[in-house]
Subunit: 289 residues, 2 copies
Amino acid sequence: MYRGASRYAGPDTACLIMAEKDWKECIKNLKGVVLDMCGVLYDSGEGGGTPIPGSVEAVKRIKASDLQLRFCTNETQATREKFVAKLQRMGFDISVSEVFSPAPATVAILKERNLRPHLLVHDDVLPEFDDVEKTDPNCVVVADAADKFSYQNLNDAFRVLIQLEKPVLFSLGRGRYYKETDGLKLDVGVYMKALEYACDVEAEVVGKPAPMFFQSALTDMGIQPQQALMIGDDLVNDVGGAQNFGMRGLQVRTGKYRPSDEKHPTVTADGYVNDLAEAVDIILKHRGQ
Amino acid sequence: MYRGASRYAGPDTACLIMAEKDWKECIKNLKGVVLDMCGVLYDSGEGGGTPIPGSVEAVKRIKASDLQLRFCTNETQATREKFVAKLQRMGFDISVSEVFSPAPATVAILKERNLRPHLLVHDDVLPEFDDVEKTDPNCVVVADAADKFSYQNLNDAFRVLIQLEKPVLFSLGRGRYYKETDGLKLDVGVYMKALEYACDVEAEVVGKPAPMFFQSALTDMGIQPQQALMIGDDLVNDVGGAQNFGMRGLQVRTGKYRPSDEKHPTVTADGYVNDLAEAVDIILKHRGQ
């Protein structure tokens, strides 16, 4: 079902970049798995999206093993509760406490640093910020606001930042674009760059690939980076982000995967697998489960 | 009225950074002056804006001297004809042939390189592109589109670029923001950066601070950079751009000027003056006119 040698395997063959013995060692030491969600568990689109074949079962199989499981998503177009409810309706065995998403992480940071945000975020994620003080803002939080990224709204956020002595900008993710059923869509990173340039600041990114974000999932499992494996469809933010933090990372050939990812100039996954189901097959087989 | 020594003079005192003898030498060799328009001649705002006190008279005084005069603007919210007509109504002695603006310069480049643009520009500047072929676009032109910078419109421009084998993006200026009577407004540079990041390309800038743009005004006067002085309110694009091209540059403390400009880490104007009227006073006094 997979092979350990060839680097540029065809799209039908799982391809592990590590040497066979390193891979065995890695799997043996594994205590937890972190899964990206969109593009790994399901494809987004009208009506909320559809599960990727085999992924509902794959999640069940990890949960039935001795591995811990958490989910790390940069999803910011819904509250975590509504987002998890959507996945449950698709058949996934998943609960809110297992999901790490940027909005709750940002709320924690805002409270810790006594910051009052001006929010440029999707309406559906606003409830996450319900109990955060927002009057007289002293920072800006930008997330994937989609159609709310009007000139007026971006200008309003800019005006808040530029009048601060030391502008503080949080960006929930730094993606360039994503794919929906009707084509490519600009993601939050593009508007983060716009505000960074306008105000000559560097945004603090909350979400993947920020190390703090992976850390929160691992702290929750009580394990170290070298005991954890990330599985995602975004080579740079999922796989590269996890690797920078000391985790191993597999890329699935679903979601936003593009064949050119396997020749990326700076990020090389520890392995490329066709989908989550195949990844779980390989992991559990190596663990003799 | 001014002093030659102190670097960080208060806002009421003109401050020349050059040594007194260098300044005298510069003024003596001067053959032409290039003026930025918005923030130097007038403040924009409702009804087209209002002249900055003393600037109508200052333009007249330069024209009555032995100095040549041209105007270099990054204005792209109107055709050059309509823009000049507005300035004439404010009382300025100015003609279309004296004004260098990015749209006509871009049209020349598009025709020379057989490029068909997708335009993300203000409706009022569209007529400048009337005789440019625009079907099946193979490049994107972005200018200050203001309220037309919707998510949908930026996404449309992005989709044109991302499907090109080698995306070509022109930006008419690279300003961060400008000031209108109702406050600061995001400028084209912010959206240029957004598209650059989304598509991993570098835009070709037409307008200040591109050297080609200053060159066109100087070629028209038949003078060399060291014989020309730029006066603008934008430290980086007007003053820094002109200096990079070998001209001298004064910053006026009107328009988008901010006191922090006088401590900018990379750009130092050859002098800071309160307004255009004061600049012209100093220049003509040194020339004994």
